[in-house]
C-alpha cells in the first residue's frame, strides 16, 4: 500500500493504482472523457490534469495515468489546474462544439464559449473505441489514422473491416455517440431480444431477467456473451466491485430430497398465429395481450408510453376477446381472466392516450370481487363494447378513412349488422393454455391431465389443491386458468397442505397394498419387473419375492400378473371382486 495526500486529505491505495483512482476513493471528482474502468489508462483527453507538488516545485500530470506514490501530494482544484483544464476543454469544444459530453463538461467548468476557431468534428479522439476493440475484444478492427489535424478513426484503408464482429462495444463506450457500425463493417449487429419484454426490446448479455426478479441477481447469457464465446471482453468484471462474476461457472443439476412437492408450472399464452385471419405476426400493430402488457407497463420498453410500431400514439385501439378460448376449433373452455385484463387494457389506453377503444366480446364475465364495478367504470370511460366475436383483421381499405388503418370486421350481434372498425392497434386477448411441457411434467409427477390438458385435482370440490398422489399439490394456472387472487389463494392452500405433511413427519399409506404369500410364492420373479415402484424384491435366501409395503401404491398389477396366485391385494381380493361380479349378474342367465 502507498499513502498520499490529495487536496489535503490522506488516502491509502494499493500499489499500481493511479492518482485518479486514489481521488475517486476520496470521492474527489476529476472530470475525464477517455478513461474507462475496463481499459488501460491512456491519457488522451487530458481533461483529468492534476498538479503534483514536488520538492523542486510543482507540475501537471494526467491523473488517469500518473501512478500514486508514497507521500505524494496532489492538488486537483488549484488555479493552475482549473486554467489548464479549461483550455483543454475549450480546445475540445472547438473541435466538437456539438458533442453533448463536451458541452456538459464545458458547462461544468463554467465555459460559455471557446476562444478557438470551431471545426465541428464529432469525434473527440478519446480512443475508447479503438482500445476496447483491441484490448477487450482482441480484434482491433479500427485504429487512428493520419496525424495532427487530420487524425481520425477508421478501419484500415478506410475499407469495411473483415475482422469486425459487429459486437457494438465501440458504440457502447463512445462518449460522443459518433461510432457508426455501418461504416466499419457490412455485418449487421444482432440485438438480443428481451424475453421478458416479449422481444419488444433488447437486452445485454449480462442482465437481470426482469425487475423484481427473485433472486434479483444478473445472469450471463452464455450464447451471446463474447467472453464465454471467444474468451475476449470480460469488461463487466472491471465494474463489479463485489468481484462476483465467475466466467468458469458451469450449469449444474441439483438433486434435492423432499417430502412433498407443489406443482405450479403455470400456463402458456395461446399462439395467435394459429388463427391467420387476425393477422397476428403479419401486421405490425396486431399485438398479443402479453406484448401490450409490456408496452403499457412502466418498466416496459416504452416506459409505459403506448405507441404503435412506428411510434405514433394510436387514435383508435381494438381489443379482441376470446382468441382461442370458447372456440370449438381451439379451446372449448373459457380462459377466465381475459375479460378482466381486456378491460384493464381498455382503461390504460384511455388513461394514457386519447384513442377510441373498441372491445369485441362474446359476453363479459366480470365474476370476481370488485370486477363488475370495474366493468361499470370502464363503460363510464367511454370505451366502446361491440358484442360479437371479430371475424377478421384486414389492411385492405374500402373507404378513405380506412386508408392506412387496420380494419376489424365483426358482426354486432346486438344491432344485427356487420361492422368494419378502422383502428391503429389491435390487441388479441389470447387463451390460457397448459404449459408446452405439461405432459412430461404430468408423467414425472404422475398427474393426470384433464380438460384442455390442465392437471387434474384429486377432487373438484373437496380436494382442489391435492393431486392424485399423496404429497404432490397443485397451485395456479397449471391446474386451470386462474387470475392472480385465485392463484395466490391456491398457492397458500398448497403450501399449507405441504406443511401439514411436514408437520406430521409420517404419511398414511394405502390400506390396499399387495402381499405375497411366502408359503405359495415360487420365486418366479415375474412380478418384480411389473412393479412401477420397485416395491417388490427377490429374497435370495428364501427364494421368494417380497413386497415392501411402504413403497407399494396398491395398483394390483402384480396381483393380476402373478401366475401362481401367491400375490394378493389386501382389502381388494379376487374373491371380493368375484362376489361383485356375481352380485351384478344375479339372474343374468335364466
Amino acid at each position: 500500500m502507498v499513502s498520499l495526500t490529495i487536496d489535503g486529505q490522506k488516502v491509502e491505495v494499493e500499489d499500481g493504482s493511479t492518482v485518479l483512482q486514489a481521488a475517486q476513493k476520496l470521492d474527489i471528482h476529476i472530470p475525464t472523457l477517455c478513461n474507462h474502468k475496463a481499459l488501460l489508462p491512456y491519457g488522451a483527453c487530458r481533461v483529468c490534469l492534476v498538479e503534483i507538488e514536488g520538492s523542486r516545485g510543482s507540475w501537471l500530470e494526467t491523473s488517469c495515468t500518473f501512478p500514486a506514490q508514497e507521500g505524494l501530494v496532489v492538488n486537483t482544484t488549484s488555479e493552475r489546474v482549473r486554467k489548464t483544464r479549461k483550455i483543454m476543454v475549450e480546445l475540445l469544444l472547438a473541435r466538437c462544439p456539438e458533442v453533448e459530453a463536451v458541452k456538459e463538461l464545458a458547462a461544468e467548468l463554467g465555459i460559455k464559449d471557446t476562444r478557438f476557431p470551431k471545426k465541428n468534428e464529432d469525434c473527440i479522439l478519446c480512443g475508447l473505441c479503438v482500445r476496447i476493440c483491441r484490448e477487450k475484444m482482441n480484434v482491433g478492427a479500427i485504429n487512428f489514422v493520419n496525424r495532427g489535424t487530420n487524425k481520425k478513426i477508421e478501419p484500415p484503408y478506410d475499407k469495411y473491416s473483415a475482422i469486425c464482429m459487429a459486437c457494438g462495444a465501440c458504440e457502447v463506450v463512445c462518449p460522443a455517440n459518433c461510432v457508426d457500425l455501418s461504416k466499419i463493417t457490412t455485418r449487421k449487429p444482432r440485438p438480443i431480444p428481451s424475453e421478458f419484454d416479449e422481444g419488444l426490446s433488447s437486452r445485454p448479455s449480462i442482465y437481470v431477467p426482469f425487475a423484481q426478479a427473485v433472486p434479483n441477481t444478473p445472469v450471463i447469457d452464455k450464447d451471446t456473451c463474447v467472453r464465454l464465446q471467444t474468451g475476449a471482453c470480460g469488461a463487466c468484471e472491471a465494474f463489479c466491485e463485489a468481484d462476483a462474476i465467475d466466467f468458469d461457472q458451469e450449469d449444474s443439476i441439483e438433486e434435492i430430497d423432499v417430502g412433498s412437492i407443489i406443482v405450479a408450472t403455470g400456463f402458456r399464452l395461446f399462439d395467435s398465429t394459429q388463427i391467420t385471419r387476425y393477422g397476428y405476426g403479419k401486421f405490425d400493430n396486431v399485438l398479443s395481450a402479453m406484448e401490450f402488457e409490456r408496452i403499457s407497463h412502466a418498466s416496459g420498453p416504452t416506459g409505459g408510453e403506448i405507441f404503435t410500431k412506428d411510434g405514433r400514439s394510436p387514435e383508435s385501439v381494438a381489443i379482441l376477446h376470446c382468441i382461442g378460448s370458447r372456440d370449438e376449433n381451439y379451446q372449448e373452455y373459457c380462459s377466465r381472466v381475459c375479460c378482466m385484463y381486456s378491460l384493464k387494457f381498455a382503461h390504460l389506453v384511455k388513461e394514457k392516450t386519447d384513442a377510441e377503444v373498441y372491445n369485441f366480446y362474446i359476453d363479459i364475465r366480470a365474476f370476481g370481487k370488485g370486477y363488475e364495478e370495474f366493468y361499470k367504470r370502464v363503460l363510464g370511460e367511454g370505451v366502446h363494447f361491440i358484442r360479437g366475436k371479430a371475424a377478421e383483421v384486414t389492411d385492405v381499405p374500402e373507404t378513405p378513412e380506412e386508408q392506412g388503418k387496420l380494419v376489424v370486421v365483426a358482426e354486432d350481434t346486438l344491432l344485427g349488422v356487420t361492422r368494419r372498425i378502422p383502428v391503429d392497434m389491435v390487441i388479441l386477448s389470447g387463451a390460457l393454455m397448459p404449459g408446452a411441457d405439461a405432459d412430461d411434467i404430468g408423467r414425472v409427477f404422475s398427474l393426470g391431465c384433464g380438460q384442455g390438458g390442465f392437471f387434474i385435482e384429486r377432487h373438484p370440490k373437496l380436494a382442489p389443491v391435492d393431486s392424485m398422489s399423496d404429497g404432490i399439490f397443485l397451485a395456479g394456472a397449471c391446474q386451470g386458468p386462474k387470475d392472480i387472487p385465485d392463484s395466490v389463494a391456491q398457492g397458500a392452500a398448497a403450501a399449507a397442505g405441504a406443511l401439514s405433511l411436514i408437520d406430521k413427519g409420517k404419511v398414511v399409506i394405502e390400506p390396499i397394498t399387495a402381499e405375497i404369500n411366502e408359503d405359495r410364492c415360487s420365486g418366479c420373479q415375474l412380478c418384480i419387473a411389473n412393479c412401477p415402484y420397485a416395491a417388490i424384491e427377490y429374497n435370495e435366501e428364501k427364494k421368494i419375492s417380497v413386497v415392501t409395503e411402504e413403497l407399494c401404491k396398491g395398483c394390483g398389477t402384480c396381483v393380476a400378473g402373478c401366475p401362481s396366485g401367491a400375490a394378493h391385494q389386501k382389502n381388494f381380493e379376487d374373491e371380493q371382486i368375484f362376489s361383485e361380479i356375481e352380485g351384478i349378474l344375479i339372474g343374468a342367465e335364466s
Binding site: 405359495r520 415360487s522 415375474l526 419387473a529 393380476a560 400378473g561 402373478c562 401366475p563 401362481s564 396366485g565
Partner: protein, 326 residues
C-alpha cells in the same frame, strides 16, 4: 391287523398311470407287503356284482385314473365312491382332464366323422358309424355311450385327494400310500404334491433376468431352446410359473418347457388365464398393434394353455358357434 385293501380303477386314460405303478415294481414287494389289492383297474369283474358285494369301508381307498368319457365309467366310479371311504383322483386325467380332455375343444360328431368317414385310409362306403346297439346276424352287441364331453373325476363324484402328474411320479405315489397307511393325510380335497409352482425347484430359475421381457413367443418347430436358460426368458411359453412342482422337472431336463400336467397351484383358479396374464404383462409392446402381434405369436392358445386342464378350466370346453371362420 389286516392289511388295508386298495382298489385301482381306470377310465379314459392311456395306461401310463398303470405303467408308473409298474415302475414301483422295484419296490413291488414292499407295496404288496403293505396293502392288499382288492381290485386292479383292468380287473373289472364281468359285472358290478362282486364290488357291489363289498362291505362299505372294507376297501380303504380307491385310486382312480383317467378322465370320464362313457356312461360305463361313470357307473363304476359312482359305485367305488359308495364303497370306499377314500377316493383319490390319480394322474392328470382324473385330476384335471389330461390330454384326452383336449377333446373338449371339439365335438363327438367331429370325432366320429374324422375317425370313420374322413380318414384318408378308411373305406366306408355305407357311411357306417359304430352304434351303441347293433345286431350282427342275430347276435346283439352293445357299446357303451360315448359322452359329448370329457369330465374330470370330481365333476362326477366327490373326490377326497388328488395325485397329480402325467403320470404321477413314483415318489409321490409312495408318499401318498405312506400317508394313507400312517393316517397322516392332509385336509380333504388336498392335492398330494407341493403347493409352490415349478419355478421353486426349476434348475433354470436362477437364469431369469431382472427385467424379463418377451418380444415374441417362439415355437420349438422353428427354434431350439437354450439348454440352460429359463424358457420364458428364452421366449418359449412355459407353464411352470402357474403349475405345481413335484414332477422332478423331467420335461425341463429334456429341454422342453412345462405344459402344466401337474395342474394349477392352490391359488391359481384357472392356470391358463393366470399364465396368460403373467407373460402378457412382460410382453414388449407399447401400442395396440405390437400387443396384437405379440399375442398372435402365441399360436393355439387353448391347446397350449390348457394342454392338460381343459375340462377343469373355468370355461370347461369350447363352443364353436362364435368362432371366426378362417
Amino acid at each position: 391287523m389286516a392289511k388295508p385293501k386298495v382298489a385301482f380303477y381306470w377310465c379314459a386314460s392311456c395306461g401310463g398311470c398303470e405303467e408308473t405303478v409298474v415302475d414301483l415294481a422295484e419296490d413291488i414287494l414292499k407295496v404288496v407287503d403293505a396293502v392288499d389289492i382288492a381290485l386292479w383297474p383292468v380287473a373289472i369283474d364281468t359285472k358290478l356284482k362282486n364290488v357291489q358285494a363289498w362291505e362299505p369301508g372294507e376297501v380303504t381307498v380307491a385310486f382312480i385314473n383317467g378322465a370320464i368319457r362313457t356312461s360305463e365309467q361313470f357307473e363304476w366310479v359312482k359305485l367305488l365312491r359308495e364303497k370306499c371311504p377314500l377316493v383319490i383322483a390319480f394322474g392328470s386325467c382324473a385330476h384335471i382332464g389330461g390330454i384326452p380332455g383336449l377333446a373338449n375343444d371339439t365335438t363327438r360328431d367331429e370325432i366320429f366323422a374324422n375317425k370313420y368317414h374322413r380318414s384318408p385310409t378308411v373305406v366306408n362306403t355305407d357311411q357306417i358309424t359304430p352304434q351303441e346297439q347293433t345286431t350282427v346276424d342275430s347276435y346283439d352287441l352293445k357299446l357303451p355311450k360315448f359322452w359329448k364331453d370329457v369330465k374330470t373325476l370330481d365333476q362326477v363324484i366327490d373326490v377326497d385327494y388328488y395325485l397329480p402328474g402325467c403320470p404321477p411320479p413314483p415318489d409321490l405315489i409312495a408318499a401318498a400310500v405312506g400317508a394313507i397307511l400312517e393316517g397322516k393325510l392332509p385336509a380333504k380335497g388336498a392335492v398330494l404334491a407341493p403347493e409352490k409352482a415349478l419355478c421353486d425347484t426349476c434348475p433354470r430359475n436362477d437364469t431369469k433376468p431382472d427385467e424379463l421381457t418377451i418380444t415374441e413367443f417362439k415355437r420349438v418347430a422353428t427354434s431350439t431352446p437354450d439348454p440352460e436358460k429359463c424358457f420364458l426368458a428364452d421366449g418359449f411359453l412355459c407353464m411352470g410359473p402357474a403349475t405345481r412342482s413335484g414332477c422332478g422337472e423331467r420335461c425341463i431336463n429334456g429341454n422342453m418347457p412345462c405344459r402344466g400336467c401337474f395342474g394349477p397351484t392352490p391359488d391359481a383358479i384357472d392356470p391358463g388365464l393366470k399364465i396368460l396374464a403373467a407373460v402378457a404383462s412382460r410382453g414388449e409392446a407399447d401400442n395396440e398393434d405390437d400387443a396384437k402381434t405379440l399375442a398372435d405369436s402365441l399360436v393355439d392358445p387353448v391347446g397350449t394353455l390348457y394342454r392338460f386342464g381343459l375340462p377343469a378350466s373355468m370355461l370347461k370346453r369350447s363352443v364353436a358357434t362364435e368362432r371366426a371362420q378362417p
